[in-house]
């Protein structure tokens, strides 16, 4: 039997679309095999990698993954920790042990460390099969967020907002002078001068809206130049902090 692909790389497919036929192809993420045909299991962009067919999702909720850095909100104080909502179908638990290097005495009032409605940057350290999530605050850059503003973006567009080696976000940071933290869950924290914060929010919304188009960096730098009236240069060889 001959192997044949019915779609091109980067085509948009919807559930039930026949992507390829033949046992030479392997179904990857977001696809399934029925007899010898491979079908799409969700809305996504086709990515043909050798003989493996994968789908890059275009929509959907954030699913917690170990080692992801996310921004979350404290929604409850528990017996020995905090419950965190991070815009996913499931909530996470931050245990006392993972919250701070300080010594927390027995029976202490936990709201002294994190109160309800506080926002934190944390790292996912464990996800169980029943989607019980543990997060940690132990690590560089993991902290409570004070001031600034939040904007929610589609979690599937986060890689575009960060850009190659962080180029896109560093450009927005440089142009607006804002401090920006992006959580893998699509929550973005922006802190700076109020006017500049607004520009940064608009720039991020622009990236989100046009994430699938090419030449995005140029358009964003042009947008930032117009808004800030300063020359914006694309950030090269940005090293991760």
């Amino acid at each position: 039997m001959t192997d044949e692909a019915f779609v091109k790389d980067k085509d948009i497919v919807v559930p039930g679309d026949k992507i390829a036929s033949g046992m030479g192809f392997l179904p990857g993420k977001g696809t399934y095999r029925s007899d010898s045909d491979i079908f799409a299991e969700r809305v996504g962009l086709v990515h043909i990698d050798g003989n493996v067919i994968k789908l890059v999702p275009l929509s959907g909720a954030y699913m917690p993954k170990v080692n992801d850095r996310v921004i979350g909100k404290i929604i409850d104080v528990l017996m020995s920790g905090w419950r965190i909502d991070f815009g996913s179908p499931y909530s996470a638990v931050l245990s006392m042990k993972e919250a701070t290097s300080e010594f927390i005495p027995k029976g202490a009032d936990l709201t002294r460390y994190f109160a309800i409605d506080d926002f934190i940057v944390c790292k996912i350290i464990n996800v169980t099969s029943q989607r019980l999530v543990d997060v940690s605050m132990m690590g560089p850059g993991l902290r409570k967020l004070k001031g600034g503003r939040f904007v929610n973006v589609n979690t599937n567009k986060v890689p575009r907002i960060i850009g190659k080696e962080g180029s896109m976000v560093s450009m927005i940071k440089q142009a607006t002078g804002c401090n920006i933290i992006i959580g893998q869950n699509g929550m973005v924290w922006i802190d700076g001068e109020p006017e500049n914060e607004v520009i940064a929010v608009e720039a991020i919304k622009l990236v989100e809206a046009e994430a699938h188009k090419s030449g995005l960096t140029d358009r964003v730098s042009k947008f930032l130049e117009e808004k800030t009236g300063k020359k914006v240069e694309a950030v090269q060889n940005f090293k991760k902090r």
């Binding site: 948009i12 919807v14 559930p15 039930g16 679309d17 026949k18 977001g30 399934y32 029925s34 079908f39 299991e41 969700r42 809305v43 999702p57 275009l58 929509s59 959907g60 909720a61 699913m63 179908p89 499931y90 909530s91 099969s129 029943q130 989607r131 599937n156 699938h212």
Partner: protein, 230 residues
């Protein structure tokens, strides 16, 4: 013998269809499906936390559908808002029509809520609801094997009718046969029959219904692609 239908359609002609995805910005997924004067708007929220807790299923997520006709939607009296016996039954069978394609194993203890509202109704509402809901679920990025399309078939005066309207259904008393179809599996996930029809005719109706569902399937796919192309 060609039957003359009240709106001038041929016996095997559907009413004009419009489908649009992403009509409700704050929902996780949404879609509108309009067939003639019947319009369904579906909004998907979730997967999200499920309460009350006793409804949770630790093996996989559950699907909750909510069908509701808007007060001003009907042809005659005002429809009382909120649920009634009929809407509860239709909600249940819409979820049963959609469940065979959905894969909710990644979402234990969670729920996917689908709210189907009908601003305009002229028969065939459950079918329009299923069409809208399946597009909305795909828009929400859920894993599903295929889209579900549905069509209400009719049988009147020994003639098979496609997509009957309220006039044919309620006033002329046509046999009403709604069916939902999953193309890639070649399976029917909803089949009801209100009235009388012979076995031979029913088999014919199923064949025609499947063909019409395939036409709707194409429209649904096109609408979904359009949203993501932009």
């Amino acid at each position: 013998m060609a039957i003359k239908r009240i709106d001038g359609r041929k016996a095997n002609e559907m009413r004009p269809i419009t489908a649009k995805v992403g009509v409700i910005p704050r929902a996780d997924g949404s879609a509108m499906f309009k067939i003639g004067n019947t319009q369904a708007i579906a909004a998907v929220y979730g997967p999200r936390d499920l309460h009350p807790k006793f409804l949770q299923n630790p093996d996989k997520g559950i699907l909750r559908c909510n069908y509701s006709m808007m007060p001003f939607s009907g042809h005659g009296d005002r429809v009382r808002p909120g649920g009634n016996r009929r809407s509860k039954e239709i909600s249940m069978l819409i979820s049963k029509a959609l469940l065979p394609v959905l894969n909710l194993e990644d979402f234990p203890n969670a729920v996917v809520d689908v709210f189907i509202d009908l601003p305009e109704t002229d028969a065939g509402t459950r079918c329009a609801g299923i069409c809208a809901a399946s597009m909305a679920l795909a828009d929400a990025g859920l894993l599903m094997k295929d889209l579900v399309s549905a069509m209400s078939m009719g049988f009147l005066d020994n003639e098979i009718l496609v997509d009957i309207n309220s006039n044919e259904d309620c006033d002329l008393g046509a046999t009403d046969i709604p069916l939902a179809y999953i193309p890639s599996m070649d399976k029917i996930s909803l089949l009801q029959l209100d009235g009388g029809v012979s076995k031979e005719n029913l088999m014919k109706i199923l064949e025609i219904g499947k063909q019409k569902c395939l036409e709707i399937d194409k429209i649904q796919r096109k609408a979904l692609r359009e949203k993501f192309k932009e």
